[in-house]
């Protein structure tokens, strides 16, 4: 089991209870002695081709063979036709930036990354993609600027994902 904070352990030793004073308000707080850690898992069977594509440097969308509806993120089922017959089409990678932000206050699981820019671009095929935009100087970002979507190895985690770079 993960270790309790030192002040909580001390109070258990001295007072017999995990109650500490909240630093700002000095109100008593009971610190739960149970800690939960969570790692989720997802099935990829229906879109395994997408992940096979990433390994080969391709980023796939899907298209319903019956009605022509395009999907990115890719999906194996078309809710319009209630059919599951889709075509896998690699994106050519050219897009136009619709909007972006730079994330400075990061979630704890991203704390080890430098500030990152997230953009949404409209791809040549018509679908939109959300991904990081790698650019040396954020001041160079312009509305509707042309970007290229490519697969990339994300450091330091070393898994394959995709990102935008300016064209």
């Amino acid at each position: 089991m993960p270790e309790l904070p030192e002040n909580v352990k001390q109070n258990i030793r001295e007072e017999g209870l995990p109650i500490v004073l909240e630093p700002k308000t000095r109100l008593p707080l009971y610190i739960s002695v149970r800690e939960l850690s969570l790692r989720y898992q997802f099935g990829t069977t229906k879109i395994q081709k997408f992940f096979e594509g990433l390994k080969e440097g391709r980023i796939y969308m899907t298209q319903c063979k019956k009605c022509g509806q395009k999907f990115f993120p890719p999906q194996g089922d078309c809710p319009i036709c209630i059919e599951s017959d889709v075509r896998w089409i690699p994106l050519n990678g050219e897009g136009e930036l619709l909007t972006c932000t730079m994330i400075l206050v990061k979630p704890p699981t991203y704390a080890h990354h430098d500030n990152y820019i997230v953009g949404i671009a409209k791809m040549k095929e018509g679908v939109r993609v959300l991904a990081w935009l790698k650019i040396d100087d954020p001041k160079k970002i312009k509305p509707k600027m042309k970007v290229r979507l490519e697969t990339v190895k994300r450091e330091p985690e070393q898994f394959i994902t995709y990102e935008f770079t300016p064209i």
Partner: protein
């Protein structure tokens, strides 16, 4: 379908409530609502609890809170619609009463965010979209999602960061008069402009805080309502809509390109239609509005999504201070999410609490005369968004019963 009115309202103090557990916090609002309606917990026939959850220890908040509030063994459920959770709870409670299933429902919004450390909350809220495609690989945050909209609005309509700051200044101004608000100090445009970036172009003072709080409403069927109070506040319309989980898939029906929320437009039109309000120039039918200002840009988009003005014209409302009391449409006279605080699951019922007090002309007793809107049309609107337009709920309240057949 029967007409449904709000006959009792209650509201806790918002803020860092390290003094209470979630059930005790729920009781703070529920007890006030019961007293307001001169009813007892035993009179309640159903309890709908809006609680987004995740950050607090209790997994079954509807049970814990019902037990503490003394409503057992009456039926209960928890409802979730992210930040629009308790507006969704109101929609459920409304239908329980309108359908004739029960006559009186306690609708309780409650959230205890400070049971988890601050970084865990940032992680949780950032996951509130499409987890796999937008968080797992790209680390989106809640301010980040709205920042994408702020950037787009800037690129399209010439919005400046100072314009957004003006919205924060207004809402802090009204919160400073509201003793139940989390933030009690006025701020200036400089305060906002000098605060650090959280997700460019949004800064710390563009963002609402993390809040513990609760707000309760008692909903009653027409015959019962008239026996309880001389000033029932009627629900004239409820609009609800769902947006895509993936931000990249927005604009399925309306091409806004991140300068508005499609779901909010849909919900507003639906609620207005039920209430007999025209969408264009909706402001002329309303005395006051509570809109979902989790970030300053969210309030700006709400003006347009609610039909108070055309696309890109929300800026003009800000620059001319038309959403202060006395302007075209007073917005967030209680301080809004931005400064009153945003306890996720309690925000919808908190909005409706304030609007009920406004329509009854009792808000001045809480927030001072300056924050009591002039009630001429007897109508108000609550605009409550879950996530970044992932859910949208728009509720129209009125001193008049719904027109025949629309209830």
């Amino acid at each position: 379908m029967r007409d449904v009115a709000i006959v009792g309202v209650g509201h806790s103090k918002f803020g860092n409530r390290f003094d209470l557990r979630i059930d005790e916090l729920a009781w703070e609002a529920a007890s006030e609502a019961l007293k307001d309606a001169s009813l007892s917990a035993k009179d309640m026939e159903f309890v709908v609890v809006g609680c987004s959850g995740g950050w607090s220890a209790e997994s079954l908040p509807a049970v814990i809170c019902s037990e503490y509030c003394g409503t057992l063994p009456k039926g209960s459920m928890r409802v979730e619609a992210a930040c629009a959770t308790s507006s969704a709870a109101v929609a459920v409670a409304y239908n329980l009463v309108a359908s004739g299933y029960v006559d009186l429902v306690l609708t309780l919004g409650v959230e205890k965010m400070h049971e988890s450390p601050n970084p865990v909350q940032i992680e949780f809220i950032g996951r509130a979209g499409n987890y796999f495609w937008e968080f797992e690989n790209f680390g989106m945050t809640f301010p980040g999602y709205y920042a994408l909209h702020a950037t787009s609005y800037m690129w399209k309509h010439g919005l400046k960061e100072e314009d957004l700051a003006e919205i924060a200044v207004k809402n802090h101004h009204y919160a400073s008069k509201n003793p139940k608000a989390q933030f009690t100090k006025e701020i200036s445009v400089e305060t906002v402009m000098q605060s650090r970036y959280v997700a460019w172009p949004l800064k710390l003072f563009d963002c609402c805080p993390l809040t513990d709080g609760s707000a309760a409403l008692i909903l009653a069927a027409e015959d019962v309502a008239k026996k309880i109070t001389d000033t029932p506040v009627w629900i004239n319309g409820i609009g609800a809509a769902t947006g895509t989980g993936n931000l990249s898939r927005r604009d399925m029906h309306l091409k806004l390109e991140y300068s508005g929320l499609e779901s909010a437009v849909y919900a507003a039109k639906q609620a207005y239609k039920q209430a007999g309000i025209t969408y264009n120039n909706a402001a002329k039918h309303l005395d006051v509005a509570s809109v979902h200002d989790c970030f300053t840009i969210a309030e700006l988009m709400a003006y347009e999504d609610l039909g108070f003005c055309g696309r890109g014209e929300g800026l003009k409302l800000v620059r001319e201070k038309q959403t202060y009391n006395g302007g075209l449409i007073p917005v967030n006279l209680d301080g809004g999410l931005k400064a009153k605080g945003h306890p996720i699951g309690a925000t919808g019922t908190s909005m409706i609490y304030s609007l009920t007090k406004q329509l009854r002309q009792e808000y001045g007793k809480i927030g001072g005369k300056e924050a009591q809107a002039t009630i001429r049309k007897g109508r108000a609107v609550a605009h409550n968004i879950g996530g970044t337009g992932h859910y949208a709920y728009v509720t129209v309240l009125s001193l008049e019963k719904p027109q025949s057949g629309s209830g």
